[in-house]
């Protein structure tokens, strides 16, 4: 599999505190990669480095072929990002939000128009194109936020706890969207606290106290840790974490 993220001993220190310690891993094209860890394990730090938002202290990494020290602007153009606190504008309509993000990513007006129609029909939101985002139910906002994060056809999309607060049906519809995007070749890098969602990933890494404590497919991890669920694998690895206070 063609790698789109490659890291080697990637490390970030804040003074004496080693937030991310010698992370070495690869993520392939079209892969759904689960990035798990307890609160304070260093996930956010690692993700911010991969998005080109934070300079590493040492180690190497490339994202879609671009260096995370020197080519952060290229990285930002080639990735998508969505967090639980979506970055949609409440007082813009659905259509205006799509147009805004298309514009930010430097898409041409014609491209944006085509993309808007495509997204609206995929989301079955044609009837809501002129609705203010503030009036949408949470589940729809979530789907729209994901669509907006891949409006510029990025190679990778980073999803930071994307499914908080929605019902189990909406959560699954969201994952259908993720599967669809991955099937089209988009690499999905996702963090979650829902351990059943960890099972949906092709491979999963689990961070404990700044290091990657385990990395494999959910099936292989369950076998290795003699567990019937990822919940139990996670518990075995994370329960002895020392960094609970940060």
């Amino acid at each position: 599999m063609e790698p789109v993220i490659v890291t080697e001993k990637l490390t970030k220190k804040f003074d004496d505190f080693v937030a991310a310690n010698e992370l070495t891993f690869e993520v392939g094209k079209g892969e759904i990669f689960g990035f798990l860890g307890a609160n304070g394990a260093g996930k956010t730090t690692a993700m911010r480095m991969l998005c080109g938002l934070l300079k590493p202290s040492s180690g190497k990494a490339t994202v879609t072929g671009f260096d995370i020290y020197t080519q952060t602007e290229q990285i930002k153009k080639n990735i998508g990002y969505m967090s639980q606190k979506f970055s949609l504008y409440d007082n813009l309509t659905v259509k205006e939000n799509i147009r805004f993000y298309g514009g930010i990513y430097g898409m041409r007006r014609k491209e944006i128009a085509v993309k808007t129609d495509e997204l609206l029909s995929m989301l079955q939101l044609q009837g809501e194109a002129k609705t203010l985002v503030s009036e949408l139910p949470l589940g729809w906002k979530q789907k729209l936020a994901f669509s907006v994060s891949i409006v510029h056809d990025p190679s990778i999309v980073f999803l930071d706890e994307p499914t908080g607060g929605v019902d189990p049906v909406t959560r699954r519809q969201f994952w259908d969207q993720i599967y669809y995007a991955a099937d089209k070749g988009v690499t999905v890098f996702v963090t979650t606290h829902y351990m059943d969602e960890a099972e949906y990933c092709n491979r999963v890494s689990i961070m404990v106290d700044g290091v990657i404590a385990a990395l494999d497919s959910p099936a292989a991890l369950k076998k290795q840790y003699h567990s019937s669920s990822m919940q139990d694998v996670f518990y075995q690895l994370a329960r002895n974490a020392k960094r609970k206070a940060d």
Binding site: G37, A38, N39, G40, Q84, P137, L138, G139, E161, G164, G165, V166, D167, P168, V169, T170, R172, W175, D176, Y179, Y180, A182, D183, H193, Y194, M195, D196, E199, Y200, P218, A219, K222, S229, M230, Q231, F234, Y235, A238, R239, A241, K244, A245, D246
Partner: protein, 302 residues
């Protein structure tokens, strides 16, 4: 009854949004009662009505026989409330926060230390740290201590574990079980289905209404169809194939397998045959018992 809610309705935006729509239920002494539902189900409005921070449009509610309107002062003195949003003083230390809450409830940390001992010992090493500098799991433990320090008769916990990792979630529920043993009544809301089974009884909520109230066992037992689990390494492909099958009633990814039900009774062989005809050979099909989450999904669909 420690909590009784009778036909409570609450609307916002001049009556256009029904946050709570004619809800009734009762909670017994020493029970852990769960409100399970997504954002917008009305859980927080209900908590705020029961803790006297919000007035209902209509209906009645009592906590420990105190009326939420007439006896609001008694309720405020007698219950513990942990709101969904972290609401301690970020600039005070762990110990200062706890002292503050003990003082306003006219008690001391020492007086009820036995109630919080197990929890407080875990955060004690950080007692001089400012609350704003704690991790999610630690903040949550401190908030629980502050809600317990005056020995409340009822504890209201609004999504105490949202955004907290699964190890901290498990520890938190271990603590709730200990509080239950001390006969503290607990009303708790959560979006996590794996926590639902830990409640004595639960109400599944959606858009201001209660879909069902019962014990976790009975909710599972009332699942109307035979449920099958299909395990495969090609989830997305098989998911789509099963959805296109003429007899499929529902079909969704569920952990490491696909859960599927059919409109007419069928068996494992028929399903395997359909899928192997599509080229999916490396898979297993088996009949399974539904989980709470299956039951909730079933009810949301109808």
């Amino acid at each position: 009854m420690m909590i009784s809610v009778s036909h409570i309705t609450k609307t916002y935006n001049k009556g256009t949004i029904h946050a709570i729509n004619d809800i009734s239920f009762e909670v017994e002494k020493g029970e852990i009662f769960g409100l399970i539902g997504p954002d917008g189900a009305g859980k927080t409005s209900l908590f705020r009505i029961l803790t006297t921070l919000l007035l209902a449009d209509s209906g009645e509610a009592k906590v420990n026989d105190w009326d939420v309107v007439k006896d609001y002062k008694k309720i405020r003195n007698g219950v513990g409330y942990m709101p969904g949003r972290f609401s301690l003083y970020q600039d005070l230390s762990v110990e200062e926060n706890l002292n503050f809450f003990a003082t306003i409830f006219d008690t001391t940390i020492e007086e009820n230390y036995h109630l919080i001992k197990d929890i407080y010992e875990q955060i004690e090493p950080f007692k001089d740290r400012r609350a704003g500098k704690l991790s999610g799991g630690m903040k949550q433990k401190l908030a629980l201590c502050c809600a317990l320090i005056h020995k409340p008769v009822v504890l209201f916990l609004d999504e105490p574990t949202t955004g907290v990792d699964s190890v901290s979630r498990k520890e938190f529920w271990d603590m709730l079980m200990k509080l239950k043993a001390q006969e503290i009544t607990i009303l708790v809301s959560t979006p996590y289905m794996d926590e639902a089974v830990l409640c004595d009884r639960l109400a599944l909520m959606q858009e201001g209404k209660i879909l069902t109230i019962d014990t976790p066992e009975k909710i599972r037992a009332s699942y109307p169809l035979q449920l099958f689990a299909v395990k495969t390494n090609h989830t997305y492909k098989v998911l789509n194939e099963l959805r296109n099958y003429k007899d499929t009633e529902s079909c969704f990814a569920f952990g490491d397998s696909i859960h599927v039900t059919f409109k007419t009774p069928t068996d494992e062989k028929t399903i395997s045959k359909y899928l192997s005809d599509k080229g999916d050979t490396d898979l297993t099909v088996e009949k399974i018992e539904p989980t709470i989450e299956d039951s909730f999904i079933q009810m949301l669909k109808n």
